[in-house]
Each structure stands twice: as C-alpha cells, then as structure tokens.
C-alpha cells in the first residue's frame, strides 16, 4: 500500500479541480441561450439545437464537474493519484472544451468537418482522463465500495465515449444506420444512469453519512446496488439492440433501482443526526423529487399517448444538476480553505463566509423555479422562455459563487495577510 494520497503535496494543485468547476456553469448558460434563441417550436429530441444544448449540459456541466471532483477525491477516497495530473488534466480540459464547442458549431451549422474534428477532440479528451484515472486506481489494493462504484462508473464512461464517437461519426458522414436510434438510447441511458448515476451513488453513500452524521447506507446499498444498476443497464443495451419488445422491462428495472437510490438519500436526510439546514440539504431533497418524477414520466411514456420523454430527461438531468451543485457548494469553499490553511494562512474566511448565503438561496430558488417552469412549459409554451431566463440567472449566480472563493484564494496568496509586518514598523 502506498501513501502518496496522504500528502497535500501529492494531492492535485487546487487549480486542477477548479479549472473544471469554473467552466461548468458557463456551458449551462450557453445551452440555455441556445435553446432560447432556437425557440420553443424547435424543441424536439432530434432537433440539432436540442442535441447541442443537451451535450453542453451533459459534457460541459456534468462531465466537467465529475472530472474535477474525481481529480480531487481520488487521493482522499481511493488513495490514488493520477500520474502527471497537471498535464493530463490540462490537455483533457482543453480538448473537451474545444470538442464541445466544435460539436455545437457542427450541429448548428450541419458542418461535417467540424463534427469530425469534434469527435477527435472529445474522444481523446475523455479517454485520456478516464484511462488515466482507471490506471491510477489499478494500483489500489484496498477496494472500498466507493472505489468499486468509481470503477463501474468510469467503465460506463468509457463505453459512453465510444458510442458517442460512433454516433457523431455516423452523423458527420450522413450515414445514419438503422441501429442509430438504439445506440443513441443506449448512449443516453449509460451516460445518465451509468456514468453519472453510479458515480453519484458511490460518492453519496460514502460522504452523506460522514458529513451529515447519519448511519451507513448498509450492505445492500454499498455492495449490491451498483451491480444491480449495472445489470439493468446491460439489460437496457441488449433489449434496445436485439429485443425491442422487452425494452420496457429493462426500463422498469432501471427506474425501480434508481427509485431505491432516491428513497435511500431522502431517508438518510430524515434520520441524520446533524440537523443543520443549509442549501446543500435543499438541493439533495429537490434532487430526489426531480429524480423520482423523472423516472415516473419515463415509465409513463410507454403507457400514455403523451410524449413525456423530454420532460423525463429534463427532470432526471435536474437530479444530477442538483446533487452536483450541492457538492460544489461544499467542495469549492473547502478546497480554498484547506489549501490556504495548509500553506500557513490563518486569517482566512470560514467556508460559510466565502459564499453569501442569500445569493446561494436565490440561486437555488431560481434553479428549482426553472425546472418546474420548464416542465409546465410543455402545456404553456411561453413558460419555456421564462424557465430559461430563470436557469440562465441561476447559472450566472452559481458561476459568481464559484468565482468568489477562487478570488479569495488568489488575493490571499498575493497579499499574504499573515505575513503583515507593519506592526513592527517604527
């Protein structure tokens, strides 16, 4: 067993996770602006603007937050450090940014060259990071349930990237095959439930009992649920490709598994010993409500004449956004505090003082309002625009709330408040 992860010097420099976190809300803003400009009449699953906006959120927000969090959490949770983390993260970060922007341009302008370049950038950016992380984990000897969940999640990420590159390749070459829709369904489910869902599950059952002082999630949650979900996703992939009549069965199985996840998180907050009610608790609670409503609509879609698929995707995506925002509100101020304190600075604000509580509350209300209005906009079209405005405002405030702690870090390093020698001047 090595202990490289136990040294702050071996932990990634603060700039590595922060660079991923800082750009995430910006992509969400671009996505919302794009949908706003494109208009409610173009809002359908296969509209280029919607595909572009979806990927701005899934890659730009979800992807970047997950990669940033992984670089930071690996040394703490798994005692694993990514080799040459600065170069790997730097290159991956740049490639993915270029890839997403290029892909968006390619979809909007239907530009074949841009799409080909995009799959090169996105494929290499993601694979570089995912394989580097998997490589760092391969040195571990003590596999905790969270590490197992991470490996599962990253394995799904690997498949998601390959499928995504394949879909983009077909799209760019105008050679959309008969299995394109099935692959797109698999790509989407594996990304949301496999990559993001399992990673969230793995982190949540580790950190919720610790940070909120609650009992552990138990053996079923920690040791079995990840594999149950993994089996469901395998079932989903096989039925989509070969047995379309049985897709509903796989859907029910996945929906049920994630309902268990949602109920488990909700109950954990009910029984927590630490009763503080900060914005992160509200985010977790709302996230669970979004998840269960999203799953319900996903299943109902097969039983009614109404098309609930987009509503379901928006709600399930909002679950992931909620949990990620809850984590960002804890991780970023803590990282700033921890790195400054470890450098010897004592006159630094506490975590709660770094982000204005009123601003984070406003940001939360705008976000929840945006989600609710978005769902309502399927019935009252004008709400589509109001919802997007709420969402844009919420993401602007989130970006500001991330920038402030980063600014505190930079200012402290520059002004060195603890090394003020003016008291010794005559």
């Amino acid at each position: 067993m090595n202990f490289t992860g136990l040294s702050l010097d071996q932990a990634p420099p603060i700039s590595i996770p922060l660079r991923f976190f800082l750009v995430a809300p910006l992509f969400a803003i671009i996505a919302a602006v794009l949908l706003f400009v494109s208009g409610v009449e173009n809002f359908s699953r296969f509209a280029p603007e919607v595909i572009a906006a979806t990927h701005l959120i899934t890659i730009g927000f979800f992807g970047f937050v997950m990669l940033g969090a992984l670089t930071q959490m690996l040394p703490v949770i798994a005692n694993a450090t990514i080799k040459k983390v600065d170069k790997v993260a730097g290159a991956s970060h740049l490639f993915i940014i270029l890839g997403v922007l290029d892909m968006v341009y390619g979809f909007l302008e239907q530009n074949q060259t841009a799409l080909i370049v995009a799959y090169g950038f996105l494929g290499s950016g993601f694979l570089l990071m995912v394989l580097s992380i998997l490589n760092s984990i391969s040195a571990i000897t003590n596999f905790t349930p969270t590490i197992k969940a991470m490996i599962n999640s990253l394995s799904f990420a690997f498949i998601v990237v390959l499928l995504g590159v394949f879909l983009l390749y077909e799209y760019a070459n105008n050679s959309v095959s008969s299995v394109h829709i099935s692959i797109a369904n698999i790509h989407a489910a594996l990304a949301i439930f496999g990559f993001a869902g399992i990673l969230i599950l793995g982190v949540v059952f580790q950190v919720l009992p610790m940070f909120y002082v609650a009992s552990s999630f138990g053996k079923f949650f920690e040791n079995k649920l990840v594999y149950i979900i993994g089996f469901g996703l395998l079932l989903w992939s096989i039925t989509n490709l070969f047995f379309p009549h049985f897709v509903l069965l796989a859907k029910l199985y996945i929906a049920l598994s994630f309902t268990v996840v949602g109920v488990g998180i909700w109950k954990k907050f009910d029984t927590r010993r630490r009763k503080v009610k900060d914005i992160t608790v509200f985010y977790y609670r709302s996230g669970v409500i979004f998840l269960i409503s999203g799953l319900l609509l996903w299943v109902l879609n097969d039983f009614t004449k109404y098309d609930f698929l987009l509503g379901s995707a928006v709600l399930t995506g909002s679950f992931i956004l909620s949990i990620m925002q809850a984590m960002l509100y804890k991780i970023i101020p803590f990282l700033v505090w921890f790195h400054l304190n470890a450098k010897g600075y004592m006159s630094i604000p506490t975590m709660n003082e770094m982000i204005d509580k009123r601003l984070s509350n406003t940001q939360y209300i705008l976000f929840v309002g945006a989600v609710v209005l978005f769902v309502c906009s399927f019935y009252v079209a004008i709400l589509f625009y109001v919802s997007l405005l709420f969402f844009i405002l919420s993401m602007i405030i989130l970006e500001y709330n991330i920038i402030i702690p980063v600014t505190i870090y930079k200012k402290t390093i520059q002004t060195k408040p603890d090394f003020d020698m003016s008291a010794f001047k005559s």
């Binding site: 067993m1 992860g5 136990l6 949770i77 610790m210 940070f211 010993r273 003082e353």
Partner: protein, 146 residues
C-alpha cells in the same frame, strides 16, 4: 482480539455524535452549547493523543515510516486544534455566524481526515500491528490526556 481499526473508527463515530449534539444545541442557544463544545474538544484531543502518543509511535517504530502518513495526519490534527480553539472563542463572543462557519469547515476537514485514516492508515496499521493490538488498545484506553 480487538481491532485497532474498529476501536479508533468507533471513536471517530462517537466524536461525530458529540459534534452533532453540540451543533443542535448551538442552533437553539449558542451559549448553552459551551459545555458540549468543551466535551467535543476534550474528546477530540483524547483521540488525537491516542493516535499521536500511542498508535502512530507504534506504527512508526514497526514500519520505520516517520515522515509519511502519520506526519500528514499530525499536521491535520494541528489544523483541527486551531479550528476548535476558534470555535470555543466564537461561543465566548456569542458569534453564531462565526460558530457555524467554523463548525462547517471543521466538519469537512474532520471527515476527509477520518476517511484517509479509516480507509488507509488504520488498514495499514491493522496489517502491521495486529499481533500487538490488545496491548496497543489497552494503552490507548488508559491514556491520560496531557
């Protein structure tokens, strides 16, 4: 034979409980939380000393690693001791915002520290020190805090 990992992990959970009680009380009335805060600080100090004066020393003697993980853990103990001193100061000054700002920071620092210990250091200690586990636990149990 008891396990060092189990013994120290249980002590972490016990300190967490006192922490939660302290915060709950402080939410109602900050000055009324003084006793619980003092109890929490005393429990934490005892835990730190059980590690620093007993387990870490045994681990270092057995493995020869004196500048490795135990050193990092000692540094984080220092960070936590500073925060706890500020926490008591916030109660003296009846500054609720400061108290909860400090308690939140302390909680995250404490839990990421516990994660490292429980998943890595204690596991490692268990591997190297298990033949002497009963003796080491007895020493930690009977420790008089300095």
């Amino acid at each position: 034979m008891s396990s060092i990992k189990e013994y120290l992990t249980n002590d972490h959970r016990r300190c967490d409980e006192v922490f939660a009680n302290m915060e709950a009380k402080a939410g109602e009335d900050l000055s009324a939380a003084k006793e619980l805060a003092q109890e929490f600080v005393a429990d934490m100090e005892r835990h730190f000393q059980m590690e620093e004066r007993v387990m870490f020393l045994e681990f270092e003697t057995k493995t020869g690693m004196t500048q490795g993980p135990t050193e990092i853990m000692r540094q984080e103990h220092t960070q936590m001791r500073n925060l706890m001193a500020q926490l008591l100061e916030a109660i003296e000054n009846n500054d609720k915002d400061k108290f909860f700002g400090l308690s939140e920071t302390l909680m995250i620092l404490l839990q990421q520290h516990n994660m490292k210990e429980e998943q890595m250091l204690y596991t490692m200690a268990q591997q190297h020190l298990s033949p002497d586990a009963d003796r080491i636990i007895a020493m930690m149990d009977s420790l008089i805090v300095e």
